[in-house]
Symmetry: C2
Subunit: 305 residues, 2 copies
């Protein structure tokens, strides 16, 4: 099936293009980029031009930043195309619910992706957790923003999420492991004095029944990233490291299998198209919105790239 890729930035080049190139379900037919696109691939300056010129392309994958995503997704749905959304699926939660309704009304598939859920350790972790009672949960998601987001100015603009841009990956795993089990009760968000999004955040979750659960997101990490989730249960402890790629149960590493996060996303999108259904889970984004809604804001040192 032909697919068009919209927004040719870092994530498109690092992940989407290789995943589509390796896919046996999708073939890249066109791109949309205001800054030139990719050698040898038909490019359009905006999505309206693409949708007009190529009615034969049934699916689009949107990987521009979240703020402009709604308008593009709405146009694609209105033109009867299936749509895959990079995470987070929008700049607001409400717009994602709106897109879901529009997609259902138009009879097209909408896939709000959470790539970290496809990390190799996540599915076996979820299977292991089933039926166990979680007693303690600790998320550490710390990386050097200069290394992982060089020159990405939009992450510092309102709606760009700041440290929640990586942090939402942890929350997407959390909500996959124990859906509906907890909510943010307290948060402290540290905003650099010269920026509009937080560089660090500490969250405390509650299940309403005494669970000890916290998350620590930090972009000021130096000396190697830490992307891990530790969960203690009534009968053993689980640890996901390296963004969910590796799984340990009671300290022993477990065998995992996976084809890679983005290849798995495109495979799942193909399944959704075949089955004619949407997959839109706003739970990770809702946790972020809740943290902004009820969090205490602290002003930190200015940040300079």
């Amino acid at each position: 099936m032909s697919i068009a890729l919209v927004g040719i930035g870092k994530i498109a080049r690092d992940q989407h293009l290789p995943a589509i190139a390796d896919s046996d379900r999708f073939a890249l037919a066109a791109t949309v980029s205001g800054s030139g696109g990719i050698d040898g691939v038909e490019n359009h300056a905006d999505i309206a031009a693409l949708l007009h010129a190529r009615p034969d392309i049934p699916a689009v994958s949107l990987c521009m930043p979240p703020v402009p995503r709604f308008v593009a997704a709405r146009a694609a749905i209105a033109a009867g195309r299936h749509v895959m959304l990079e995470k987070p699926p929008g700049a607001s939660v409400t717009e994602v619910f709106r897109l879901e309704r529009l997609a259902r009304a138009a009879g097209v598939s909408l896939f709000a992706t959470w790539h970290s859920r496809m990390a190799a350790g996540v599915a076996p972790a979820r299977a292991w957790l089933a039926g166990k009672r979680i007693t303690r949960l600790r998320i550490d998601w710390k990386e050097d923003v200069r290394k992982w987001h060089p020159g990405q100015d939009w992450i510092w603009q309102p709606g760009g999420l700041g440290v929640f841009d990586p942090g939402i990956n942890a929350l997407s795993i959390l909500t996959e492991l124990c859906p509906g089990a907890l909510h943010v009760a307290e948060a402290e968000l540290t905003f650099p004095a010269n920026r509009d999004t937080p560089i660090a955040a500490r969250l405390t979750f509650t299940d309403g029944a005494g669970l000890d659960a916290t998350a620590d997101f930090d972009w000021r990490q130096e000396g190697g990233e830490i992307w891990q989730i530790e969960i203690e249960t009534d009968i053993g402890a689980l640890k996901l490291t390296e963004g969910g790629a590796r799984l340990f149960i009671d300290g022993a590493e477990q065998p995992t299998a996976g084809c890679g996060e983005y290849p798995a996303l495109y495979r799942h999108f193909a399944t959704l198209l075949a089955e004619g259904r949407p997959d839109v889970d706003t739970a990770p984004q809702l946790h972020v919105a809740d943290a902004f809604l009820l969090g205490r804001r602290v002003t930190g040192a200015p940040f300079h790239d």
Copy 2:
């Protein structure tokens, strides 16, 4: 039907007690208050004590501030009681979705109230708008915080919403008039330098198709409150004033009828109980969470009560 009132503060005394006293469906059987309750009414120090002592009371109405509401609602649902929630229904959006699932699983009714939707002009405004195309929308919701929230320290604490505490009333009317039609695209939130919630907010909404829609919330208003919504359509203009109590179409005041906002809420709660269904609409709260999520924060002058 017996009902217990939990949280005896300003809104309980101003609105809930008179509404229950006038109701032909509910009788106040007990209160929960850490600071004494009401003369002549059985009082319990916390909701656990109430639920334990009075299994015969089938319904509770929770009107404490939003932060402690989840734990109380969860306990009441677990004890098989029907629950009515003051607005906003929680400190986070996720907790409201969690409560809704818990209530459905327990087979009890959960009513997330939005009192402003019961203002006399709202239902006729909605009926008039049906089938019309909105071209411009302007919300002005401005009041003197010293007059309307004297000594209410919790509104300035994280999760207390600040100026969105009244502003969410406007958003509850907006989402009643045109459900699912728009989302917050931009916001500017002004936080007093010494406070954790905003004293003013300007929101810009989008429908994705060029609608001009803004909201202006301000707690620094002097000389009389303004709580109004103006909507222009392809065939005429509507104006709601006084929080929705009065309705004007093309400048001419329209007849309205209503029994009062809180009496109407209790009447609706009785209907929900009779029909055994929940009524939980998180749309107004989602708009607020979105405004915090993607809004630009501005620091303003310190505020002193």
